[in-house]
C-alpha cells in the first residue's frame, strides 16, 4: 500500500487498517492456517484413505479462503470448483472403485524408511521456513492497482493476452489427458454382446428343449386398458377372468396383486360377470392361462 505520510498519525492509523496483511486478515489467517495444517496431517495419520480425503478437502477449502483473502477471488472460486468440486470427487470415486476399506500396509519394505522420510520432511520444512523467514521480502504492494477492473477481468487480460499460446497448449494437454485416461481404463470385452436377436434365439432353443417358458410370445401386460392400467391389477381374458402371469412376479410373490373385483366401476362389473361376458367355449373350472416367460417380469 501507499506509505503513510510522515507526521500525520491519523493518516498512519487509517492507512494501517488498509495495510496489506494486517488486522482482520491476520486473524483470518491464524484461524484458517493452523486448521489447514491439522487437516493436512490427516494425510499422514489417517488409517482409512477416506478420512485423508476429507482432510484434504478441508485443506482445499481453506486454500480458497486464503486466496480470497489474498485479493485473488477468481482463483478462490476456481479452487472450489476445480479442486473440491472435481478433483476430490474423482479421488473419492476412485476410492470407492478400489475399495474404501483398503487399509494401508504397515510393514516396511525398506527398513527405517518411515523415520528417514519423516526426518527428511521435517528438515525440508525447516529449510523452507528458514529461507522464507530470513529472506528480506519487500513490503507487499497489494493488488489494488492490478485489480482495478475487478480481479477476474485482470486475470482474463493476462491469460488471453500475454499467455494465450500457453492457454492453447493447456487445451491440447487437457484433451490428451482425457484420451489417455480413456485408453488406460479401457476394458476389453470378454463375452459377446447378447443383442435382441441372440436373446430370441436362445429362448426359442429353450422352448424347443422344453425348458424355460411354455409360450414364445411375451407375457400379457397388466391392467385393464382404458379403465385401469396399474401394474398390480391383472389383465382380464375375454371371459373376464384375471390372468395371473400379467402381474409382475415380485408383486405376486409379495401378495400385492389386486383382485379385479375390488376395482371401482366397469372392471368390477366385468370381473363379476354382470357386465358383458361372452360365453366361454366349454369353460373349464380353472382359468386356462398361458404361462408366459417369467424371466421377463
Amino acid at each position: 500500500m501507499i506509505a503513510a505520510a510522515p507526521g500525520t498519525t491519523a493518516a498512519a492509523t487509517a492507512d494501517a487498517v488498509g495495510t496489506v496483511g494486517s488486522g482482520a486478515e491476520l486473524v483470518l489467517f491464524w484461524t484458517v492456517g493452523p486448521l489447514m495444517v491439522v487437516a493436512a496431517l490427516a494425510l499422514l495419520f489417517a488409517r482409512k484413505p477416506v478420512h485423508a480425503a476429507v482432510g484434504l478437502i478441508f485443506v482445499m477449502i481453506g486454500m480458497a479462503v486464503l486466496y480470497t483473502a489474498l485479493e485473488a477471488p477468481f482463483l478462490g472460486v476456481a479452487q472450489v470448483v476445480v479442486y473440491t468440486g472435481a478433483i476430490m470427487i474423482l479421488f473419492v470415486f476412485v476410492l470407492m472403485l478400489v475399495g474404501v476399506d483398503a487399509a494401508d500396509s504397515v510393514a516396511e519394505t525398506i527398513s527405517g524408511q518411515r523415520w528417514i522420510a519423516v526426518l527428511l520432511g521435517l528438515g525440508l520444512a525447516a529449510v523452507l521456513a528458514g529461507v522464507v523467514i530470513t529472506a528480506t521480502l519487500p513490503d507487499a504492494v497489494g493488488l489494488e492497482a492490478a485489480n482495478e477492473r475487478t480481479n477476474p477481468v485482470g486475470v482474463a487480460y493476462e491469460i488471453f493476452g500475454r499467455t494465450v499460446f500457453t492457454l492453447e497448449l493447456v487445451g491440447v494437454l487437457l484433451i490428451t489427458a482425457a484420451l489417455g485416461a480413456i485408453t488406460l481404463t479401457h476394458k476389453e470385452r470378454l463375452a459377446a454382446v447378447r443383442d435382441q436377436k441372440a436373446t430370441v434365439r436362445l429362448r426359442q432353443r429353450a422352448y424347443a428343449r422344453g425348458e424355460g417358458s411354455q409360450v414364445l410370445t411375451p407375457a400379457p401386460a397388466p391392467g385393464v386398458y382404458a379403465l385401469s392400467n396399474a401394474a398390480d391389477l391383472p389383465a382380464l381374458d375375454p371371459q373376464g377372468r384375471p390372468i395371473d402371469v400379467s402381474v409382475p412376479r415380485v408383486l405376486r410373490i409379495r401378495g400385492q396383486e389386486r383382485d379385479p373385483g375390488t376395482v371401482e366401476g366397469h372392471v368390477a362389473q366385468i370381473a363379476s360377470g354382470s357386465f358383458v361376458r361372452p360365453d366361454a367355449p366349454d369353460a373349464p373350472d380353472g382359468p386356462d392361462q398361458p404361462h408366459g416367460d417369467e424371466e421377463q417380469r
Binding site: 492456517g33 486454500m63 479442486y83 478400489v98 500396509s105 519394505t109 507487499a140 493488488l143
Partner: protein, 99 residues
C-alpha cells in the same frame, strides 16, 4: 507488512505433502500428497503475486491448477488400471519394472 506467514504455511504444507508421498504405501494417498504439494505451491504463487502487485503469480497458479487436473485424471486412470491387473493399490507390490 510482508506476507511471510503465508509463505511459511505454504512451506509447512509442502513438507507434509512430501512426507506423505514418502511414507504412505497406498497409491491414492501418495497421490493426495502430490496434490497437497501442488496446492501449497499455488498458495506461495498467489502470495508472491500480492507482494509484487502483479497478476502474473495468479495466472501461473491458474495454469498449475489446470495441469494438476490433467495429471490427476491420468494418474487415477493408471491407479485404476494397476488395481484391475493386480488387485492392489499398494506402491510396493508392482515390481515389474525392476528388471
Amino acid at each position: 507488512m510482508s506476507l511471510v506467514h503465508y509463505l511459511v504455511l505454504s512451506g509447512v504444507l509442502f513438507s507434509i505433502g512430501a512426507i506423505t508421498v514418502l511414507v504412505r504405501r497406498n497409491a491414492i494417498l501418495a497421490f493426495m500428497g502430490v496434490e497437497l504439494m501442488l496446492n501449497s505451491c499455488n498458495l506461495a504463487l498467489v502470495a508472491f503475486s500480492r507482494i509484487h502487485g502483479t497478476l502474473t503469480g495468479q495466472v501461473m497458479a491458474f495454469y498449475v491448477m489446470v495441469v494438476a487436473a490433467a495429471e490427476v485424471v491420468v494418474g487415477l486412470a493408471i491407479i485404476v488400471s494397476i488395481y484391475r491387473a493386480r488387485r492392489t493399490v499398494s506402491v510396493d507390490e508392482p515390481s515389474l519394472l525392476k528388471g
